[in-house]
Structures are given as C-alpha cells and as structure tokens.
C-alpha cells in the first residue's frame, strides 16, 4: 500500500534496503526539491512569514533525515512532511502570538495583489473575492482546502490534521460550496 501511494503521489527518491548516509542525504535533498514549494505555500497560507517558512522547511527536512536514518517508516512521506510542517507552523504562530504587541504580528497568509494596472481587471477582482472567502472559512476548513490544493489525497489530509476521512470530505464540500457561491455559482 505504501509503495503504491508513494508512486501515486510522485515521490521519486530512490528506495533500496541498504542506504548509506550520503545516499540518504541525496534522497532528502531530492525530496526537498520536490516538496519545498508546496510546503512553503502551505506554511504561508497558515500565516507564517516567508522567512520563518524557509526555516521551518529546513527543520522539517532535517527531521526527515533523522527519521529515515533511524530506519523509521517510509509510508506516505509526503503526508509526514506536511504533518511535521503543520505542527511546526502552529508552534511558530503561537510563538509570535506570545510576543508583545507591536512585534512582528502574524501577517495574513494571502498577500494582497500588487497594486499594478491589472489589479482592476475582472480576473483579479474575482481572485481577491475568492481569497477573501477563503480567509473567512474556519481554520480547520482552510487547512483542508490548502492541503488539497497542494495535491494531498483525503487520507493524507486526515493524517496531517489528525481527523477522520469523512471530516475531510465534509470540510472540502462545505468550502467549495461557499467558494462556488462567491464565484457566481449557485
């Protein structure tokens, strides 16, 4: 099962029984190349500042290196990466919330579009409207939606967030219904 899932989600790192440290290093760097951008987008959507997001991504892959070096499970590494990233992001956010007022308040995950001439175009307005609906969703629904947008399957999302599979399906249906209404659907 794990192998079929890994191939289905496009993990292309080498998989052999006897891996030396340098092979493992190559493998983790390769996985970083595959998943750094999706993970960073997810972290940013959780209102982690971009500089902290880079550091969290580094930490995730250092932890992954240790995880694999100890011979731990290779099942669903993408889910593992997003789960550890998610936990570190929440920790980062809580740390920032604890900071005194005026210091590095958490930014909105979705930056406003740059004020260029195209900002008035209908397409951009629609995008801004969709993102404002996303921001109005519950945090839980935002997590599910962002993880799905980064290509995770329902089972992986359930594992990352520690929720039931049915909750993922309900959350996505609820979010997409709201987004569709805002987008001009029923």
């Amino acid at each position: 099962m794990a192998h079929s899932l890994e191939s289905a989600i496009g993990i292309t790192a080498a998989r052999t029984g006897a891996r030396g440290p340098s092979h493992l290093e190559d493998e983790v760097v390769s996985l970083y190349g595959q998943f750094r951008n999706p993970l960073l987008r997810y972290l940013l959507s959780l209102r982690v500042p971009v500089e902290d997001g880079e550091e969290i991504a580094q930490e995730v892959f250092l932890l992954l290196f240790r995880h694999l070096r100890q011979g731990k499970s290779r099942a669903n590494l993408r889910g593992w990466i997003f789960r550890v990233g998610h936990n570190l992001a929440l920790k980062n956010r809580a740390r920032r919330m604890r900071q005194p007022e005026g210091m590095e308040a958490p930014r909105d995950g979705y930056a406003d579009p740059a004020p260029d001439p195209e900002a008035c175009a209908a397409g951009n307005q629609r995008q801004a409207r969709l993102l404002s609906v996303v921001r109005a969703l519950s945090e839980h629904d935002q997590y599910c939606l962002s993880l799905r947008a980064e290509g995770l399957r329902y089972r992986e999302i359930a594992e990352v967030l520690g929720i039931a599979l049915g909750s993922v399906a309900n959350s996505l249906a609820r979010s997409l219904a709201r987004l569709s209404r805002a987008d001009g659907g029923t």
Binding site: V28, L44, Q58, F65, V84, L88, L131, L179, S180
Partner: protein
C-alpha cells in the same frame, strides 16, 4: 448542498472528481453524470471555481517564494554537518577522512553566509531564579503526542514577574521571549521557577533551543536518553546540552 430530485450532492461530486469514491459508487456517479445535465453543469461550476482558486493561490502565495538554490544548498550543508557530528568517533573520522573536515567547514561557511552574521551570546538562566521545575509525567505521556512540541501561553502577569525577577526594564521586554527552561514536552512544569526571559536577538536564541528540545524529545522517546537526564541537562546548561546532543557548534 444539492440533493433534491435525486441529484448528486456537492460532496459526492467533489469526491468523484477527486477520485475518492470506490469503484461501484464511482461508476454510479459517472452514469448519473452522463444522464443528468443539471449535475454536469454543477460539476463544471465546481471545477471552474477550483481552477480559479488554484490560480488565485498561486498569484498570492507563489510570488512570495524565492528560488530554491540557496535554501537547498543550506539544507545539504546542514545534513553534512549533522552526519559529521553523528559519526561514532570523531577522532577516527577526522584522521581517516580529512576531506570531511573541509566539507564541514564549507558547510558551516555556507550556513553563516546564508543566515547572515550572528549576534553575541544571550544570557543564561539564573539557577537561583530558574532552576527548572518538572511535573510528574510518565514516559508514555511524554512520547504519546506529536513529534513537535506543543505550545502553551505564558500569562501576561507571569511574564511581568519573570521580567522583573531578571531586572529587565520596562523599555526592554519586547526583546525577550518568556521561555520554559525545561520544555513542557519533556515534563517541564508550568511554574515561574521554570521560566526565564530568552532574548530574540541572541545567537543562542529560542529557536536554537527549540532544536535541542526536539532532539532531546526524540532521544528520550527512542530510549537513548532517560527523561531525568534530559531534564537535568537542559536545565543546568542548555547550551552545553545543545552541543552534546545536537552536535553543531554554530547554530543560527
């Protein structure tokens, strides 16, 4: 949700489009869509919204992400440094593989180049004020949760007390985090005797300590370090513990 007149619900349409329905139900949905214009139109609306959402996310988030080359090189450097630090006998490694020393030096140089220069070491917790208190926990409780430390807020009043104890003036508190000396995830107590003001700007800052805490938690849960030793080491000299367990000399 639409489920009137035997139409498919949004939930079913999305499950089907995402390939999350089982074979028999997927075939039924496919058959319904072949016959029902209403559900096909709804499916198209949902797909259109998904497409627009994907583009909106890419525009809002994608452009804030820089190129991967620098961070990728930094990660490789950190992995090399970690492998060197974890070698069973450093003396033997350095003699038998002199190139490794150069590799680690280059790795650390890349790391320092990437993160910028470091500021001076921060103050350490005072033993008379913050000896580090623990609460009664079992190993199962310590290791039963997430791989990453859970976070607890320090009440404002406690924060003021800790800052006052350490003589941090009213003009300076923004420069400090009130941190647990023994992290709650290693059984640290929610007590003022386990709290101290840790500077944000110091070389040995809260983020570096987080790395040690994650590492110690991992070692404890793997049975390589017992909980009492971890609590002792982090509370008596956390920087020394960092060098002992994480093994790097130049944290950012």
């Amino acid at each position: 949700m639409r489920q009137q007149d035997n139409h498919l619900s949004d939930s079913e349409l999305i499950l089907w489009a995402d390939g999350e329905l089982g074979g028999r139900r997927a075939a039924q949905v496919r058959g319904h869509l072949d016959a029902c214009w209403g559900c096909r139109a709804r499916m198209q609306e949902l797909e259109r919204t998904i497409g627009r959402l994907v583009r909106a996310r890419a525009a809002a988030l994608g452009e804030r992400i820089g190129p991967a080359a620098g961070p990728g090189a930094l990660l490789r450097a950190r992995l090399s440094a970690e492998m060197a630090a974890a070698a069973p006998s450093r003396g033997v490694v350095w003699r038998s593989a002199p190139a490794l020393g150069a590799l680690v030096s280059v790795a650390l140089a890349i790391l320092i180049f990437y993160v910028g220069s470091v500021s001076a070491d921060g103050p350490r917790p005072k033993n008379n004020l913050t000896p580090g208190e623990t609460r009664r926990v079992t190993l199962g409780e310590v290791c039963g949760g997430s791989e990453v430390e859970t976070v607890r807020d320090v009440p404002l009043e406690t924060r003021r007390l800790v800052l006052a104890e350490y003589g941090v003036s009213a003009a300076q508190p923004n420069a400090y985090e009130i941190d647990y000396l023994i992290t709650p995830d290693l059984g640290g107590a929610d007590s003022i005797r386990n709290l101290w003001p840790q500077p944000y700007s110091a070389r040995w800052n809260a983020r570096v300590k987080d790395r040690l805490e994650t590492r110690l938690h991992q070692l404890v849960c793997e049975g390589k370090v017992d909980l009492a030793t971890a609590q002792h080491d982090i509370s008596t000299d956390w920087i020394g513990a960092y060098r002992k367990y994480v093994g790097a000399n130049a944290p950012r």
